[in-house]
Amino acid sequence: MIHFEGVSKIYDNQLAIKEVTLSIEKGELVFITGPSGAGKTTLLKLIYAQERPDKGRIVVGNFDLSKIRQKRIPELRRQIGIVFQDFRLIDTKTAFENVAMPLRIRGLSDSELRDLVYEAFRLVNLRHKMDAYPPTLSGGEQQRVAIARAIVAEPQILLADEPTGNLDPENTKAIMEIFKEINARGTTVVIATHNPDLYTHSGRRVFRLSEGELLGVEVL
């Protein structure tokens, strides 16, 4: 599903990703871990083509990102759900509207998207906050809205960048359960985190990054 072959990314003459080669199979749930600045976010950005590799080849599903043309990027991104580290919620729109956005982008009408949005809110246990605006929500609630938006269109791949960064242990556990449930439905899930509680004893593959280099892969 996701293949990196000798991928490097340079920012300001500094290697952010160094010769990374990895493969994530369809339907897998994997973790990418490492300290801050290890290159986790850059690696995710390379998957959804917000960044282009300076070297190497990236294949995501049917898309070869080394050759992808600008006009095909929206198509690629519509197959990926993303939970951004900074949430990227639109403050002037209600939580409902934020979650409905990926469906509107896909051209669904109000009546077509309503049930899907309700289901996403049910999954993150936030139906009572659908009409609230993001600035009035707590960090944890905003995170859950961001997750609902990422999963609402049932993407083939779900990328989550520090998805539990603002959550207490109880909510962290709940969010991880959501990711597992989405993964059980067949979605490939990639979670970038520096929180070992998420992947320890998970039985999933963990890619360990440090200073842009892939140090190793292990099942924990």
Binding site: Y48, Q70, E75, R77, R88
Partner: protein, 293 residues
């Protein structure tokens, strides 16, 4: 890709940035109103120059002592000419009578003449589409070739003036309108640029969520169209008011009405808002430019 959501998004934007949009709409209206006035002037000069050819005549003075048969043949040949609208034969006697009528109190000047000095003549009215310097030159050279005609009198200077006025009005009208048109588009361009810039965070998020360029552009195009449409509507209203004011003044001061000034056609006034909408959309398209991912 314009959906109901695009409209809602656009309307939200218009409401949120009400003052910027109002100012853009008003300045667009000013530009479109000025264009209307230029076109009004242009239209009137054009109509006036269009009416002149209808009055344009060519007088052919015939040679002396032509037989009735030769004159008839000449008249028939002239009638067959595609540029000629009507032919009027004026025998020298009629010409003298007409001259006397025209001279009125001074008719005594011709009373004492032993002999009628005027020649037989033919007055031609020309089809308006042939009243241009080039076409008249061709016609006159054809007429000169006829051996029954002694002399030709036509308003050579008038023809040249009509051509010059027409060209000057057309060129200056097009030039001025183009400059203002570009100004109006630039006004819409800057407004949408500001709106686009203010919503760049949203736009970036849309891009990351997989929005197509069409989805991103649509609300801004709609906003541009609405701003332009309302500008056009205001300009149209102002132009209609101006016309009403003119009507009012011309009833008070008949001298103004005597010029026979024409109002702008109703289709133009009705089309102005749609023209404004189109300009707004062009401005928006230029402002958004290419969507890069």
């Amino acid at each position: 890709m314009i959906t109901g959501y695009s409209f809602r998004f656009a309307l939200e934007g218009l409401k949120k940035e009400f003052w910027i949009n109002l100012i853009a709409s008003l300045s667009g209206a000013t530009g479109l109103f000025i264009i209307s006035i230029i076109l009004l002037v242009f239209y009137n000069i054009h109509s006036a120059t269009k009416r002149l050819p209808e009055r344009f005549t060519v007088v052919l003075y015939l040679k002396d002592n032509l037989s009735t048969e030769t004159i008839d043949t000449t008249i028939q040949a002239l009638k067959n000419n595609q540029a000629v609208r009507s032919v009027r034969y004026i025998p020298k006697e009629t010409a003298l009578l007409e001259l006397k009528k025209r001279l009125k109190d001074s008719s005594f000047l011709v009373e004492g003449l032993d002999e009628n000095p005027l020649p037989d003549s033919i007055e031609l009215r020309i089809k308006p589409e042939f009243v241009s310097p080039d076409k008249i030159k061709v016609l006159i050279s054809e007429l000169r070739a006829m051996n029954t005609i002694d002399e030709i009198d036509y308003g050579e200077d008038v023809i040249a003036s009509i051509g010059i006025i027409k060209k000057a009005v057309e060129r200056s009208g097009i030039g001025l309108s183009s400059v203002i048109l570009i100004g109006v588009i630039f006004n819409f361009y800057t407004t949408i640029k500001i709106l686009f810039y203010r919503r760049r965070e949203e736009v970036e998020t849309f891009k990351l969520l997989g929005a197509s360029p069409g989805f991103i552009r649509a609300p801004f195009l709609i906003e541009g169209a609405i701003i332009g449409f309302s500008g056009g509507l205001i300009a149209s209203g102002l132009a209609a008011l101006l016309y009403q004011a003119f009507l009012f003044i011309s009833t008070r001061f008949p001298i103004i009405g005597a010029f026979g000034l024409q109002p702008l056609e109703i289709w133009f006034l009705m089309g102005l808002p749609f023209g404004g909408a189109l300009l707004g959309m062009i401005g928006a398209l230029l402002a958004i430019g290419r969507i890069r991912y």
